[in-house]
Amino acid sequence: MNEIWPWILLAGLGAFHGLNPAMGWLFAVALGVHRQSSAAVVQAVPAIAVGHAVSIALVAGVLVAAGLFVDQDRVRAAAGAGLIGWAVWHHFVGHGRRVRIGMRTGLAGLALWSFLMATAHGAGLMILPALIPLCLADSPLREMGGDESAAIAIAAVGVHTLAMLAVTSLVALAVYRWIGLEILRSAWLNVDLVWTLVLLGTGCVLLIV
């Protein structure tokens, strides 16, 4: 609980999620160039962050609930196996799945799109290594109490989302204002591949440690 590294990890993963064009900044830029308005970019980013946060919160909620009844080691093992399974699914099947939200969607649609994208990518699962030591400090949770654990989980989701929001806003505005969409051709590295590897690596860490 007193350690700082899980918080740094949460913020770092938030920044990583924010950097990924597929998680939202590109959508914000697209809406900006369509509507020729930087206000459209600025409005889109929080909606995207909210959708992302709800997806992350869902995983955190499940984790806290599981922690109330199950031993931490078993939660950790199950989460590790789940992550590895998700990485495999994401690599082989995930590409074929599309979120059917159009370019003329409103802010609610944007939030829903972001929620579905984050969920399908396993964004919440990726932050489990940071969440487990924070939320399941005493195992099982009966000693620490579900309330306290839930409060920490909410704080964790908040830290992750703020980091994501900051990076997404920064990149979206920079691309919209100064850099231009040409950057997609040169700098859009295959984040999906990195993402799969991070999911896989995280799963292994949870199983081994």
């Binding site: 597929a22 959508f27 369509h34 370019m103 969409l181 040409e182 295959n190």
Partner: protein, 464 residues
């Protein structure tokens, strides 16, 4: 197919795609009208610096006979960069080549050597019918949910036709696209406005009304396609029908503006039953609905009945038969193929409601039989048909065959295939490239042209 960077032939916007390097290869599907030898994909050298410029460098035969290769497309394109459905690390590598007659879909690999493509996979008609309930695959576009293939018939070869979806990496037929078809029955072309979440389809006829040629009674009875259908691209739901009226038949090729913020496009009507003219229409927004406005009329030309095929003798006129159109990447020039008269028109459509004729060439034609300086035999038959524009808008390629059974109805002596190229001036004006004339081998007739790296009817964009 894992790559670290997006395919270099993908561009976020049409503006950027115009800056692409000139194409060096063209892929052309060609079919054998006698169904004796396999249809083939021909690779034509279009690099003026090459020793084999304007020659067919390779022909890849299909594994069967009688497919009638017609329209085709890429497995992936610039729409992979769209923000709401990003999959930018797919490769534009495979050509998806359906047989309109056989309903067989061929997947052709253009790597590692674009001059020597190879057959990668064949999807048999049974799989198409079983998974999607369709047959007679026609138009192929890469888009938000994978590869969209318009099909003209259902599994039994009747109506309704519609769209099937394929995975753009595994080429698995994923099923029928429509979730709510509404009144739509006939199918032909499909395209979309990605920025407006709208899909548009046009109509031809059910396979029994076109596979043996146009049926005069059906045509004169105004029973061929004449409607546009507008759909919600993401909910896959029919929204609106526009009927052109019983005067207009064969409302065919859809060319939406490339700029995704613009909500208009062009469509050709092949023939008016009143005076055999062809017309070009613009579809556009009208409040919350879509509407159409006729913007170009191309009249039939009076002709000596002795020079006309039996189908036209009674009319003493050559219909222009506008069977294909294409829109330049900057949405400025519209090219119009008059397969009957032999003209190819260039219009400035900067104002889509007020087109200006800025260029015109003539080659072939039912009566005119105009020649080309590269042709050895003088008079040419067939006429401008499938037309394709380079991404920068400076080069226009076209071939002369329409469809096996229909070719003979208008050109009874059969069609000797050719492919030509025009050079276009930046501000309008077109002229033949005298050095580019591909005399097609007699065994086959050429149809659609696709350019390496994309062209003006193979990509769609999410950013203006």
């Amino acid at each position: 197919m894992v790559t670290w960077k997006p395919d270099p032939s993908f561009y976020p916007s049409p503006r950027m795609a115009m800056k692409a390097a000139p194409e060096t290869l063209a892929y052309v599907v060609a079919f054998d009208p006698t169904r004796a030898v396999p249809d083939e994909l021909a690779v034509v050298d279009v690099d003026p610096r090459s020793a084999t410029y304007s020659q067919i460098v390779t022909s890849l035969p299909m594994p069967n006979v009688g497919d009638e290769l017609h329209h085709f497309g890429w497995n992936a394109c610039s729409s992979c960069l769209c923000p709401n459905a990003p999959h930018p690390h797919a490769e534009r590598r495979y050509l998806v080549v359906p047989g309109l007659k056989s309903s067989r879909i061929h997947i052709i690999d253009t790597k590692p050597d674009g001059r020597r493509p190879s057959l990668f996979k064949v999807i048999e008609p049974g799989e198409v019918a079983e998974r999607a309930g369709y047959s007679r695959p026609h138009t192929v576009h890469c888009g938000p949910e994978g590869i969209y293939v318009a099909a003209l018939g259902n599994a039994e070869g009747k109506g309704p036709g519609g769209i099937l979806l394929m995975d753009h990496e595994t080429f698995e037929v994923r099923g029928q696209w429509e979730m709510d078809r509404g009144p739509q029955q006939l199918s032909y072309d499909v395209w979309w406005h990605l920025g407006h979440d709208t899909l548009v389809t046009s109509e031809w006829g059910t396979p029994d009304t076109f596979e043996n040629g146009l049926i005069p009674e059906v045509l004169l009875g105004a029973k061929y396609g004449r409607r546009l259908h507008f759909w919600d691209l993401h909910k896959r739901k029919h929204l609106q029908t526009i009927d052109f009226g019983d005067k207009y038949q064969l409302v065919f090729e859809l060319r939406p503006a490339h700029d995704p913020t613009k909500a208009y496009g062009f469509v050709n009507c092949v023939v008016s039953l009143e005076d055999l003219s062809s017309s070009i229409w613009v579809w556009h927004r009208d409040g919350t609905q879509w509407a159409v406005t006729k913007v170009i009329d191309i009249p039939a030309e009076p002709a000596d009945p002795d020079l006309l095929p039996p189908m036209l003798k009674g009319f003493s006129a050559v219909p222009p038969l506008v069977t294909d159109i294409d829109l330049s990447m900057d949405d400025r020039f519209l090219y119009v193929s008059c397969w009957g008269t032999g003209d190819l028109h260039q219009y400035d459509v900067s104002d889509p409601f007020k087109p200006k004729l800025t260029g015109k060439v003539r080659i072939g034609g039912i009566v005119s039989r105009a020649s080309h300086s590269g042709a050895k035999n003088g008079a040419l038959n067939g006429g401008p048909q499938m037309v394709e524009i380079s991404r920068d808008g400076r080069r226009i390629y076209f071939t002369n065959s329409l469809y096996g059974a229909i070719d003979e109805q208008f050109y009874p002596d059969g069609i000797s295939g050719w492919m030509v190229k025009l050079d276009a001036e930046p501000d309008g004006g077109i002229a033949f490239d005298e050095k580019f004339f591909v005399e097609w081998p007699k065994s086959h007739r050429p149809h659609q042209v696709r350019l390496q790296g994309g062209d003006c009817s193979s990509d769609s964009y999410c950013y203006p």
